[in-house]
């Protein structure tokens, strides 16, 4: 039973990590919380549902189209909610509010396009439908696939940030936007890339979560937004390995609460861990002290 619970926590942690890494990427550079991240995640899930259930596509084409579309939504989000404010140097609060506005718009549009019911994916469209049985432990292949995808994507993301030109620009922006601009970094282009990558990651998480739990609705972004914030604060704002670690820790804290305490306190667990972290090390597990002021 413990082995099964560890598997449960790992797969839950993989979702949190995938979702939170995009959030932390944007926070690291722009110092703002993107409240529309959960809405993009939701669009990923619903769009893939639409392509599979209504258009009769297979899982992989649907995944690809949804993820690309989420990337595009990401650019639009930046252009609509963040860039105008950035140009005016509007500070931290206005972008937060305008991203909240975009999230409402995205939810309402989703209600309009996809309806408000919780939708179910067609069973024949979903790959990896088998279940691995190792003794008493059951491991749905879909969860295995997600964990593999998460590991690969996290590594790719880390590689992008640490080893590529775009990544260097991102880190330069993180360090000091003004100096980066003076040094010839194309700030707008870099930020646009960042939104594409972050939103595409949210899209991947959305598609996999929708398929794995066979449920998607316009409201699915709400709860994961909150968890996502907890994850990036715990892991250290702006740190990608921190998002992975934070995601896993919160998933394990939640599962442990159900196992050893009571499922009544499951949601509280994440936030108790978070509070404890803020008291002991306010910058988060892997955060640099620069983020303390946030």
């Amino acid at each position: 039973m413990i082995a099964q619970q560890i598997i449960n926590a790992l797969s839950q942690g993989a979702y949190y990590a995938l979702f939170a890494s995009g959030l932390t990427l944007i926070f690291g550079v722009l110092d703002i919380l993107n409240l529309a991240h959960g809405a993009i995640f939701m669009w990923g899930a619903l769009m893939s549902w639409f392509l599979m259930a209504e258009m009769g596509m297979g899982f992989f084409p649907a995944l690809a189209i949804s993820v690309v579309a989420c990337g595009v939504i990401g650019i639009l989000l930046d252009r609509a909610a963040f860039k105008p404010l950035r140009d005016r140097a509007a500070g931290h609060l206005p972008p937060l509010v305008s991203s909240l506005a975009v999230s409402f718009i995205l939810v309402n549009l989703a209600e309009r396009f996809f309806g408000t019911r919780v939708v179910r994916f067609p069973s024949d469209a979903v790959p990896f439908s088998g279940t691995l049985e190792l003794g008493d432990v059951r491991l749905p292949m879909l969860q295995v696939a997600l964990m593999c995808v998460s590991v690969v994507l996290m590594f790719a993301l880390w590689y992008m940030v640490e080893r590529t030109k775009v990544g260097r620009s991102i880190r330069a922006l993180q360090e000091n936007p003004d100096v980066a601009r003076l040094m010839g970094v194309d700030v707008e282009r870099t930020i646009a890339w960042m939104f594409v990558v972050a939103s595409a990651l949210a899209g991947v998480a959305g598609v996999f979560l929708g398929v794995a739990y066979n449920s998607a609705s316009p409201y699915m972004g709400h709860w994961i937004d909150l968890k996502g914030f907890a994850v990036i604060i715990l892991g250290g704002m702006g740190s990608i390995p921190g998002a992975v670690l934070g995601g896993l820790l919160i998933a394990f804290a939640e599962t442990a609460t159900v196992v050893y305490l009571s499922s009544d306190y499951r949601d509280a667990a994440a936030f108790v861990v978070l509070m404890a972290m803020l008291l002991i090390k306010p910058s988060g597990l892997l955060g640099s002290s620069r983020e303390v002021r946030a």
Partner: protein
């Protein structure tokens, strides 16, 4: 004494232009004198011929207000101003004395979750409302008009719609909302304002305790849940169970408590209790824990979407225990979405499609013809509710001269006087509290279909 009077003030049109300075302040004063905030003058064209261009003072305006309820043919070229609201009337009930015939149409409101997480239930309710209205308005007596609004499955919107119905739209009665937690938030407003409420879907205990204006045709789960447990023990030989329920939803908590009592009473051992929250999608941790307890059955007290998730994920984890559930299990949407995972699941229902009372046979037949789908228990409860309201409207004898407050009281009294009703649900007996008691039945899922457990 306070009277709720709708005033219509008529002013010659030639007056408006040059004498605006005089006219509008007078109206503002009038509006201020109305204690209700929403009493704002409204301009609309009316038919009235008079000596245009005469100067009017505030006193004359107030004199006009006495013309309220005297819609004589007055001519053309006139702007009318209507002020609606509560006016403190110093003299006796002058207007109400000319009681004549009953009203032609009773304006009613309905608020349900047409969108949002619990909207899964509202399709059949909407259908039943439509069908019942068609039937009712073919009968003699006052017609019913039901304005249907969406509360997006949340409490705040339910409250907003209630306020709109109570104050602005002056509805005589409100149907809905859909679930208990919304009702506990919104219905006290109606109780305070003296507006009767008819609930057609709320199975949560205690909603009728909100007050004597709250009625329902929805059967409380607690009254039928014991029969589920008895059938499970008799037919399936269940000895041990694990319970799982949504702990932030009043309805689910009510069902959980009813199950808890019935299980103990029938000597079933409860191995463990787990909780989930509304909107959760991952139940693996709780279900894994339940799996290790190895119960004969899992009792689920949840709304539809979570029930579907729980059942499918339990099967994925290799749990083969049978499921026992509450109202959510009766929904055809849940049955379809849960698919094979729900096989053999048992639940009690206040109503089932193959019930053989005459009203039900007719109802099921017509429903299938109209909507090309099967009705569920919510449709049956809603249909009966509209019929009962119609009966009450007929009996109440509301006249056009009744103020809206009087009309609402008359309607409430007429509703309270109905003790039994023979309808689609069968023979309903109402308790003093306004709760319905019906025979009910236990259903079991066999080959993806609900079947009656004899």
């Amino acid at each position: 004494m306070m009277y709720n009077i709708r005033l219509t003030i008529l002013i010659p049109i030639g007056y408006g232009r040059e004498d605006k300075g005089n006219l509008w302040p007078a109206l503002d004063t009038l509006a201020r004198d109305c204690p209700e905030r929403h009493a704002k003058p409204r301009v609309f064209p009316a038919e009235w011929r008079s000596s245009a261009g005469r100067r009017k003072t505030r006193e004359e305006f107030l004199m006009f207000t006495k013309l309220a309820g005297a819609p004589a043919r007055l001519g053309r070229n006139v702007i009318g101003l209507s002020v609606a609201g509560l006016i403190a009337a110093a003299s006796g009930p002058a207007a109400a004395q000319e009681a004549s015939s009953t009203i032609e149409t009773a304006d009613l409101g309905a608020v349900y979750a047409l969108t949002g997480p619990v909207a899964i239930y509202s399709t059949t309710i909407q259908n039943a409302l439509k069908m019942a209205l068609e039937d009712v308005n073919g009968m003699d007596g006052p017609k019913l008009d039901i304005a249907l609004e969406d509360d997006r499955s949340n409490k705040n919107d339910a409250i907003n719609v209630y306020q709109k119905f109570i104050q602005r739209d002056q509805k005589l009665l409100i149907f809905g909302p859909l679930i208990g937690s919304q009702t506990f938030a919104a219905a006290p407003l109606a109780q305070r304002a003296g507006v009767p409420v008819m609930l057609t879907s709320v199975a949560t205990p205690g909603v009728t305790d909100i007050g004597d204006y709250i009625f329902r045709t929805s059967v409380e789960s607690a009254t039928i849940i014991p029969s589920t447990v008895e059938a499970a023990v008799d037919k399936l030989g269940i000895e041990t169970v694990a319970q799982i329920y949504t702990n932030d939803d009043q309805f689910s908590i009510g069902e959980y408590e009813a199950f808890d009592g019935a299980l103990t009473e029938n000597g079933v051992e409860i191995l463990g209790v787990e909780t989930i929250r509304t909107g959760d999608v991952d139940f693996s941790a709780q279900l894994t824990k339940i799996k290790s307890l190895d119960p004969d059955a899992i009792v689920i007290s949840s709304q539809g979407e979570e029930s579907v998730g729980l059942m499918t994920q339990a099967r994925e984890l290799g749990i083969d225990a049978v499921f026992l559930g509450g109202n959510a299990f009766n929904s055809s949407g849940v049955l379809k979405d849960a698919g094979e995972a729900m096989e053999n699941a048992m639940s009690a229902t206040p109503w089932f499609a193959s019930q053989e009372n005459e009203a039900n046979l007719e109802f099921v037949k017509r429903y299938r013809e109209m909507f090309d789908a099967d009705p569920d228990w919510l449709a049956a409860q809603t249909y009966d509710a509209v019929m009962i309201v119609k009966q009450a409207v007929d009996a109440a004898g509301i006249t056009p001269d009744d103020g809206v407050a009087d009309a609402r009281t008359k309607l409430r009294d007429a509703l309270a006087a109905i003790e039994t009703y023979d309808g689609v649900l069968g023979k309903i007996e109402f308790t003093d509290n306004g709760d319905p008691v019906v025979p009910g039945a236990v259903l079991q899922v066999k080959n993806g279909k609900h079947e009656l457990v004899e």
